[in-house]
């Protein structure tokens, strides 16, 4: 079927939001042209296709652009029915959508703050991340996702893609910020187990960049974020109110790796 007559994906190699779309297209075996964007020097094409948010990923299908990764994923699933990533049952779909919102509205931003801050602000953000992970852990342990290998069941679905592409950063951040523990396997055994299963999948390994590349990138970003705001490391928010503004200033000048890349 000529559904992929013209399919382009504008993305960024380190963007977890781009990875989501790449993974979905790979699962469905859909051919597309990939265009790497330099987020510090965005192309005319990107700005034309996503004038509202000016972010990646953007999918352009037969010259019609789509922005926002979760919206793109649902579109892809509706156009290419092979290997579905959304379930058929309306209630199950609602549960998946709810937790996708949670991942992007709560968990993602909290992780972003952890990465862009230090001291008291970071401690508070780490607590927030733990609170959010605890909610997911509870659903895996005794709630809606009890007994499932993946959120989607026996194979990965929308929520696995959304949570998974992004969660691999948690281990990377832990490496970069010594002393910060985000996914303690003892505190979050089921989430930890799910993440390991997700990362072991061939399609995921083929989509997510190698850990050492991510580490190198994360270290550079972290250094820039801290240097940018405080001039040295280890300064707490009491001395530097700018710390709380860190995520905002960071996204202005540096590719933000934990929210839709700007």
């Amino acid at each position: 079927m000529e559904k992929s007559s013209s399919l382009k994906l504008f993305g960024s190699w380190a963007s977890s939001y781009t990875h989501r779309v790449q993974l979905a297209l790979k699962l469905k075996n859909i051919k597309f042209e990939y265009i790497e964007e330099d987020l510090s020097n965005k192309s005319e094409a990107l700005l034309q296709f996503n004038p509202i948010y000016k972010k990646v990923p953007v999918l352009v299908h037969d010259d019609r652009p789509l922005a926002e990764s979760v919206i793109i994923l649902q579109y892809v699933d509706e156009v290419w029915n092979e290997r579905p990533i959304l379930p058929a049952d309306p209630y199950e779909r609602a549960v998946m959508r709810f937790w996708c919102h949670f991942a992007d509205d709560k968990l993602g931003p909290a992780v972003g703050v952890v990465f862009a801050s230090s001291g008291e602000v970071q401690n508070a953000a780490v607590d927030q991340v733990h609170e959010n992970l605890a909610l997911i852990e509870r659903e895996l342990r005794e709630g809606y996702f009890k007994g499932r290998k993946f959120f989607g069941g026996d194979s990965i679905g929308l929520l696995d893609i959304v949570l998974g592409c992004g969660s691999y950063w948690l281990a990377v951040f832990e490496e970069v910020m010594t002393g910060v523990k985000l996914v303690d396997p003892e505190a979050f055994p089921l989430f930890h187990a799910w993440l390991r299963e997700f990362e072991a999948l061939d399609e995921v390994k083929e989509t997510i960049p190698a850990v050492d590349k991510l580490l190198e990138y994360a270290k550079a970003v972290r250094a820039m974020l801290l240097g940018h705001c405080m001039g040295n490391t280890g300064v707490t928010d009491a001395a530097t109110p700018a710390t709380t503004a860190a995520p905002a200033t960071a996204t202005a000048s540096v590719p933000d790796i934990t929210v839709d890349s700007s």
Binding site: I52, H61, R64, L66, A67, E68, I71, I72, Q74, Y75, E78, V79, P90, Y91, R93, A94, V95, R97, F98, H101, F102, L135
Partner: protein, 240 residues
């Protein structure tokens, strides 16, 4: 308890309950969607200053309304609820059939929730420079919304977003009519201007004129006095 024949609903349900709160736009959004589809439901009023055990049980993540509970199974977040309602009770549809148009509906719904709604809330509860900034931002985002609707929906303005019948975006915008009136009264400006944002205006005005919308609307005077009381409280705590 269910209205309609088997063809209208995905599969039989026995009980639909909506937990909401008085004067909340997001609650009104769900009420209007349910009414549009002639779904019989029981409404449970929540006092957000004194949340029930039940609410905390059915929405432990956000502890918010609205929550739809269908045969004991809860769904939270109005946009998620709306898509669920549309998938369960297919007639009349509130989402288009074409996948690209559906994506556009989702995009603009998300834009309204992320960019337009928060500004309007700020406008209600700030003064001075912060208020001026909020009005500016609201106006700018509204203009973006208007332009986007014009570009992405060929039948917008006739009189709803998709033409003759109301859809998801009309429900969201139309259910905000009380809030929109508040903005006008409190700022002295007609922020949803018929000439500046004709497509948005047409959607809101046409939707709020529907009998179901009128049924859902809370008495404006009461809404206004509640908001004024909240404002007084908010400004009082800001005094140096």
């Amino acid at each position: 308890m269910m209205v309609g024949d088997c063809a209208k609903i995905m599969y039989e349900v026995k009980e639909v309950k909506l937990y909401g709160t008085w004067g909340s736009t997001y609650t009104a959004v769900v009420q209007n969607a349910l009414k549009l589809k002639e779904v019989k439901y029981k409404y449970v009023q929540e006092d957000l200053e004194n949340k029930s055990e039940e609410l905390l049980r059915i929405n432990p993540v956000h502890k918010q309304v609205p929550v739809l509970v269908v045969d004991g199974r809860p769904i939270a977040e109005s946009l998620v609820i709306l898509e669920y309602v549309d998938e369960m009770w297919k007639s009349p549809p509130i989402m288009p059939e074409d996948p690209y148009e559906r994506a556009m509906v989702r995009f603009w719904a998300d834009f309204i929730y992320k960019k337009v709604a928060p500004c309007s809330y700020t406008i209600l509860f700030t003064v001075g420079e912060a208020l001026e900034k909020a009005i500016e931002e609201f106006t700018r985002n509204l203009a973006t919304l208007e332009e986007g609707i014009g570009k992405d929906f060929a039948n917008a303005g006739k009189p709803f977003i998709h033409g003759a019948k109301p859809g998801l975006l009309d429900i969201i915008m139309g259910s905000s009519s009380g809030g929109i009136r508040l903005l006008a009264d409190l700022t002295g400006k007609e922020l949803i201007d018929k000439d500046k944002v004709p497509l948005v205006y047409s959607s809101v005005h046409s939707f709020e004129s529907l009998p179901i919308a009128k049924e859902t609307q809370v008495p404006y005077e009461q809404l206004l006095s509640r908001v004024l009381a909240k404002r007084e409280k908010a400004f009082a705590t800001e005094q140096p």
